[in-house]
């Protein structure tokens, strides 16, 4: 299991691929579900120039680990990867990558979604959007639907 908070840009598919090789479990898993969240140039308003991600060092890692452990207990997973950016991001930059490996697809899909929803509702990260002439905090995340 790898959980990391990253202060600079990352290439999610390179990370997922490297983690999978390091697992050295080829043939053991039949399913890998991945979710990558990226910075959009729009949210409630168009014209986002930058996104600043703040977090609570210590508590964030603690909750990501807790969520990952919950997923590992609830589904028969071989491994799990969670990466999350902090700092200043720009449109197109990856924010979050979650990848889960399992023997079967049901567990992979369900646990990947579980980790994302729990991360969004419990992990202490906050987004601030910078537009051309102003900046504002994102007040809440969009619903799962």
């Amino acid at each position: 299991m790898r959980i990391a908070i990253l202060g600079s840009s990352f290439e999610p598919y390179t990370e997922v691929s490297a983690h999978e090789r390091a697992m050295n479990a080829a043939g053991k898993f039949g399913a890998c579900a991945t979710f990558i969240g990226s910075t959009r140039e729009f949210n409630l308003q168009d014209g986002i120039h930058a996104l600043t991600l703040e977090h609570y060092p210590g508590m964030t890692e603690r909750y990501l680990k807790l969520i990952a452990d919950e997923a590992m207990q609830r589904w028969p997973l071989l491994d799990l990867l969670i990466l999350h950016r902090v700092g200043e991001l720009h449109p197109g930059d990856p924010i979050v990558a979650v990848a889960v490996w399992s023997a079967h697809r049901g567990a992979a899909f369900d646990s990947c979604r579980y980790v994302m929803e729990e991360l969004k509702s419990r992990a202490p990260f906050w987004k601030k959007e910078t537009f051309e002439n102003h900046a504002s905090w994102v007040d809440k995340n969009t619903e799962a639907g």
């Binding site: 609570y56 508590m59 202490p124 601030k128 905090w137 809440k140 995340n141």
Partner: protein, 77 residues
Amino acid sequence: MPISVKFFARLRETLQRDGATLDYSPGMTVTQVWQQVSGGIDMPDNTLMAVNMEYVTRTQAVRDGDEVAFFPPVTGG
């Protein structure tokens, strides 16, 4: 050992400080911690709080040396 208080995101900007320390007194709750360090500003209804990096409710008792944090709804991912 004093109680250490932390503020994050919009709350940090509203209070114009990222933290504070205060002396522990017996029976103190998270709400009382807020009252002593917020400079008279009411706690926004949607405020989340944690003691020693674990979510708690407003009535949670604190102990000497605890780390108490206040922050708005989280918006990661």
